[in-house]
């Protein structure tokens, strides 16, 4: 039987691709069509603040379960951003998707498993205005989720204000410059999509973000 070529991609955070956890942010946001722009906004904001964005999308191999990929990315990132906007009833059965709270739970587990305070995992939880998270995930109440209005501008401002005050963040241009540059990043991403379809390699997405970061000075 003829053997078929298969593509493997090593995972960020492992082996020769070991990423520095304190300079990595795991992005836990929906990335389907309705939310893709918001996902891109957080990836871009993270890069502008000097962090390597990490995601379940970063591995190209299907040999590893999605949950393994996510857990590995969370455990090799000191920071994470979780947008719970998608947790609302949808479709004919009015069911909500709960992948995001599940991944937030992994991040919380990582924090509790971190022995040294210096390396403790830290997260930002984002919810939409009028979101009823307190009714179905009341344990979050003490974590002061940040509210956004669903626009990329507002989301970038919120994410940047949090990221920029993390100890490992780099100095950055103003959020206005980040918001303006985001449009350029989206164009670069559109070019990648026209080349790759929906399977844009994570490395190429990160490189597009990195090349679009507004420079100081």
């Amino acid at each position: 039987m003829k053997r078929q070529p298969q593509t493997f991609r090593e995972h960020f955070g492992a082996g020769k691709l070991t990423a520095i956890p304190s300079k990595s942010v795991f992005v836990n946001c929906p990335f389907d069509d309705d939310f893709e722009t918001l996902f891109d906004a957080i990836v871009f904001a993270s890069t502008c603040c000097g962090f390597v964005p990490r995601s379940a999308l970063e591995s190209g191999t299907v040999a590893e379960s999605r949950m393994e990929r996510i857990a590995r990315a969370v455990f090799s990132s000191k920071y994470s951003i979780h947008d719970l906007s998608r947790c609302r009833g949808e479709g004919n059965e009015n069911l909500a998707r709960f992948n995001m709270p599940l991944e937030l739970g992994i991040a919380m587990g990582r924090r509790m498993a971190t022995p040294r305070k210096k390396d403790k995992h830290d997260w930002l939880v984002l919810v939409r205005e009028g979101h009823q998270y307190a009714k179905y995930i009341s344990d979050l109440g003490g974590f002061d989720p940040k509210i956004h209005d669903g626009t990329t501008e507002n989301l970038i401002r919120t994410a940047v204000a949090w990221l920029a005050t993390r100890p490992e963040a780099i100095p950055l241009a103003t959020p206005r410059k980040v918001i303006n540059a985001f449009e350029v990043f989206r164009k670069k991403k559109a070019e990648l999509v026209s080349e790759w379809g929906r399977e844009v390699p994570w490395a190429d997405l990160v490189l597009a973000a990195r090349k679009t970061v507004p420079r100081l000075g």
Binding site: P5, P201, A203
Partner: protein, 173 residues
């Protein structure tokens, strides 16, 4: 109008009050969180107003103390105000061997031992900045350091992304 906002950790409250007293002796008005208001919701709203008005925001940082959630909120609020008004001066005052808050690592800072006599000196330096602004030479040095740090980090991100891309190998299985 408050000219100086003083952000402090609970353990540095006495020093914050000593600094406020010295500044007010020099005719500089001050705002300390928790001194005028104590209800948290009202405090947050007044903190944001005071941060907006202040020309100088002083961050009083003690040794080996982590910033509380409240202080983190003040950090974010100060940064957001600075982005809207770059003439605002953000200035850490470091007590003993305290570390400079990371987001202010390129800012002009003042080091003190924490003795009562320090605060008159610090108040005079702050009053001078209110009158004359941050010395241009120090500003230029801070901008150069920030640009270098941004360049180095973006190079690191690029290196990691290229390594990830290069790791995509085709194998015959």
């Amino acid at each position: 109008m408050n000219s100086v906002f003083i952000s402090y950790f609970p353990k540095t409250r006495k020093q914050a009050e000593a600094l406020a007293w010295e500044l007010e002796r020099l005719g500089v008005s001050t705002w300390l969180p928790g001194r005028q208001v104590s209800v948290e919701a009202a405090l947050e709203s007044q903190m944001l107003d005071a941060m907006k008005e202040a020309r100088v925001v002083v961050f009083l940082v003690g040794p080996q103390i982590s910033a509380s959630d409240w202080v983190q909120r003040e950090y974010r609020a100060a940064l957001e105000r600075f982005w809207l008004d770059e003439d605002k001066v953000l200035m850490p005052v470091l007590i003993g061997n305290a570390d400079q808050p990371a987001f202010l690592r390129h800012a002009l800072s003042i080091k003190v031992d924490g003795r009562r006599s320090d605060w008159a000196r610090v108040a005079k330096e702050i009053a001078k900045i209110l009158n004359e602004g941050v010395p241009a030479k120090k500003n230029r040095a801070a901008i150069r350091a920030a640009i270098k740090e941004q360049t180095d980090r973006l190079d690191l991100i690029e290196k990691q992304a290229y390594a990830l891309r290069a790791s995509e190998v085709h194998k015959i299985v």
